[in-house]
């Protein structure tokens, strides 16, 4: 969307408030968890009135989802690099993910969100549909391109492929069972590509 010519100040102020609300929400989810999160606390942290929040979002759940949606859009976008080299591209993407999860400001709210969705099947379904599915689709699109290039098997199960690539990293991160390193990212890609070789 091209920027509006001569964007008026109120719109810019609104956008600043919206971003402050989303940031405050992510911080507070990490600090107190989803269950104890309140619209009052978000408003206070963001420096806006409660009514401002209710004007834009109809529930706490709606704010939290937009907060994480914004984060995931900022963080990895929705198109994966495609240089034609699936190994190099996946390693770049997975190394970036490892680096993100080493950043407490990024990982703490995601950890809080994961604890919530692991304990709440309905929230988990919303998460899958609104947050995970679009990102997974972008990743599968990159794998399809590698299939067309003959770099991975034409009949590969791409959902399983994503799990083989990301679930070990997810588990190490969530349970803190071993360090997340660039070398680990590379090893996961190497193993996946061996498993999916034509």
């Amino acid at each position: 969307m091209p920027p509006a010519p001569k964007r008026p100040d109120p719109a810019r102020r609104s956008e600043r408030s919206r971003q402050a609300v989303l940031r405050a929400t992510r911080e507070l989810v990490a600090e107190v968890g989803y269950a104890k999160l309140s619209i009052e606390a978000i408003a206070a942290r963001a420096g806006v009135g409660k009514q401002t929040i209710y004007r834009w979002w109809r529930s706490k759940g709606a704010v939290v989802f937009d907060a994480f949606l914004a984060l995931s859009e900022e963080a990895d976008g929705v198109v994966l690099p495609d240089t034609g080299d699936i190994e190099a591209d996946l390693k770049a993407v997975l190394r970036a993910t490892v680096a993100e999860f080493a950043d407490p400001a990024f990982e703490a709210p995601i950890r809080a969100l994961n604890l919530e969705i692991a304990g709440d099947p309905e929230l988990a379904a919303q998460y899958r549909e609104r947050l995970a599915a679009p990102v997974d689709e972008a990743k599968k699109e990159r794998l399809r391109s590698a299939q067309r290039a003959g770099q991975i098997r034409a009949d590969a199960d791409l959902d399983l492929a994503l799990e083989l690539l990301y679930a070990p990293l997810y588990q190490r991160w969530l349970l803190r069972s071993a360090p997340l390193t660039p070398g680990y990212a590379d090893a996961l890609v190497d193993h996946l590509l061996r498993a999916l070789r034509p």
Copy 2:
């Protein structure tokens, strides 16, 4: 340890009480979570006095660990089958795991425990050392036997191998992102063995 000859009744009563405490602990962790679990509630549910619990365990954490330790000993023991066929053996083990996690009585307390350890680095370290490490060692022993038989690469990273096998299943289960089926267990084994082929 061989059973004591002429085991007296009080010992048998003690063992019944101990098992009742462990069972009550698992049930309550699933129902109220670790944070809200109390020794009082465990005692009431198990039909024993609080002092009985304090005589055997020095803390709530100690009871909870023994409760899960007992479950994991009952559930999968510590030696994997070794028929000489690594594919068949791993598929049998992973199908059994899938079946366990389909059982609400088994999975609910494990889910509660996982939420606790994901939010508490110290509990996570204890879990790794006391619960996960012995089971992982048994699994790696089976993989080493497959290495000696030339069925998987001699230089394979066995910790990573276990993650490739179990982390996708763990993630599907924890986030309820897709069904856990016997066919899924088989597919994970097939992919692992392709990745680790000599």
